[in-house]
Subunit: 360 residues, 2 copies
């Protein structure tokens, strides 16, 4: 790698296959108007040169109309019933599904029926059976399916992967990653939020945030774990159905190990570190948005700390999706990729239950 | 805590119970003259105001005499036979045992027979049975026994413990620690070194360096794990009898988890991080000597990086030992404390063998 690849143009979009001005913008229907869609996704879509938010789907017409008035590109709003019936399908090319996990399958099924491509929030579904069904539905309909992992287009993560692939840390030996926040105290105090509901979410800290270090470890190593174990725990009454805290260990092929920690009851923190025979690369902070990124690279006699400008991770993710729809390049985080994460997470829960290791 | 306790006088010896000038120096017989004794322990003893290296015990009289000439305080050298027979016992008050792990019991038994106190390198022995015997031997003889964990008197570790105890990270939720180096490539290329011999060492990376994050996690949390699991692996032929790399997970009381990674085949790195409900404290680099220490403390709206002057960790450790011998204060890392580490490490190996969790 040239120095400029790591220091100077970290934020380059090496994944782009098309010119934004040479292809039609992808018109996106946003399904679910929670805080993330409103505060993150719609502004990113509005800012994107490759996408535009043309349709809003919500259970509340009042809410949808209010939010629609904030974004010029929005052409219409739909109720879930109208969406299911195929109203307004000429106004969008793809859907962005940002609802409780257990609703992903139903919304993707509707999209597939109408020939619309699907960008589905992570995790792909609440369990691996429904996740597999979601993949099948999209495959059968011939629509593209991508799972919305922000990290695959986060520049620091892409550069870290290149550093590893180029051999700068030697042979990878271990990965450790973590993500934590105080969900109830700092993010959302509502004890009835869907993230605490096992039926809707599928799991707790692991499904919601542990997926970041877990999936990023897979991405950085370009490999999937073969066995996992874990420990789950909760201290708050609100976390009676899903775990508040999880710690899991993973065995990858070739003897590489990884550990991931996630908690909804620990100080906000996030990092991922790959240690190899010859060096170490770390991203910290790693997974939360709106934080200046730092990449650390240790090798030989040197330790470098590289500050990297922020990008709008959601815009990058949408633009990658749009670029893939407008080119013939494969989507990296496709449906099958997303199913594997759910299978791994289910194995972690099983391992924690049985105090054992579980093969994946 | 006052700011000065963390920034300004990090290296204070808060553990001192006696004035160095008010008590007799402890005359130490060094058992085993490997590179660590010669390069680290003897210079530290020579530099100490509380100890002096008066006797050297070695299988090679030539080597012992040569090294003796480098240190003014050395009064005599002994062969192992002379040591066992009690020759020169009037020249030392305590022994420092720095031999392959499996010889610790025999050397400590001789010391106990002669009424000499014992500072024993970590791990205390190659297995928990011999470790327990070593404790009994010293107890029965009424001599003091300390295991040589450098971290209990490393200033950054003590300050981190105080920060945690004072509640600055809230309730601890998880600890992660690691230590790695390329033993064969960077430290000692000899495939016949005792660290690779299961009979002499008891274990591989875990016994040799994984013990640092493991024991420091116990120290920082002031608690012992209740269950463990792990994964071991090797890539070099030289690591056929003991593991080259280990990754272990620990469950502490109260739902606190910890992960420790150690490898003799990964880039030199070491760190320990405690994440709590309100903050995070990290020491990095943590465990290797001769590196400038850095403590990071994140809490509330702030992240602090505190560079700390180096101390001679071995001198601090010897001085703590001497201070405890000259006062009636208890030794923190006593024999029983050392046995617990060996029991934990044996449980990790059993867990790795059986792909399960093992209660400790």
């Amino acid at each position: 790698m040239e120095i400029d690849d790591l220091i100077g143009s970290q934020c380059r979009r090496d994944w782009e296959r098309t010119e934004a001005t040479a292809v039609p913008a992808v018109r996106v229907a946003a399904i679910g108007l929670g805080w993330f869609t409103r505060g993150r996704a719609l502004p990113a879509l509005a800012d994107s040169a490759r996408c535009e938010p043309t349709v809003l789907v919500s259970g509340s017409t009042t809410k949808a109309d209010r939010i629609a008035s904030e974004f010029d590109a929005v052409e219409r709003t739909l109720t879930y019933e109208e969406y299911a019936e195929g109203v307004g399908t000429d106004a969008y090319d793809a859907v962005y599904v940002c609802t409780p996990n257990a609703y992903h399958l139903d919304h993707a099924t509707v999209a597939a029926e109408h020939g619309k491509h699907v960008l589905c929030e992570k995790p792909i579904e609440r369990d691996s059976d429904r996740a597999a069904d979601l993949v099948t539905v999209c495959d059968d309909a011939g629509v593209e399916l991508m799972v919305a992992y922000r990290m695959h287009t986060e520049p620091t993560v892409r550069r870290a992967k290149e550093v590893i692939k180029a051999g700068y840390v030697g042979e990878p030996v271990t990965v450790r990653g973590d993500m934590s926040q105080r969900l109830l105290e700092r993010v959302n105090p509502d004890p009835d939020q869907w993230r605490l509901d096992a039926e809707l979410a599928g799991g707790g800290a692991l499904f919601d945030i542990g997926l970041y270090p877990l999936n990023t470890a897979r991405f950085l190593l370009d490999a999937d774990p073969v066995a996992v174990t874990g420990t789950t725990g909760s201290t708050h009454d609100a976390f009676d159905a899903v775990e508040e805290t999880v710690s899991c260990s993973l065995r990858f092929p070739g003897g590489i190990t990884a550990t991931c920690f996630a908690s909804h009851n620990a100080r906000q923190a996030s990092s991922i570190t790959v240690t190899g025979t010859e060096g170490q690369v770390r991203i910290e902070p790693a997974f939360f948005q709106d934080q200046d990124r730092r990449v650390e690279l240790s090798r030989g006699d040197s330790h470098a700390e590289i500050q990297v400008d922020r990008v709008d991770q959601i815009r990058e993710e949408f633009d990658y999706f749009a670029d893939r729809l407008r080119s013939d390049a494969d989507i990296y985080p496709d449906g099958r990729h997303g199913v594997v994460d759910v299978e791994i997470m289910e194995a972690v829960y099983e391992a924690a239950d049985r105090d054992t290791w579980v093969e994946v």
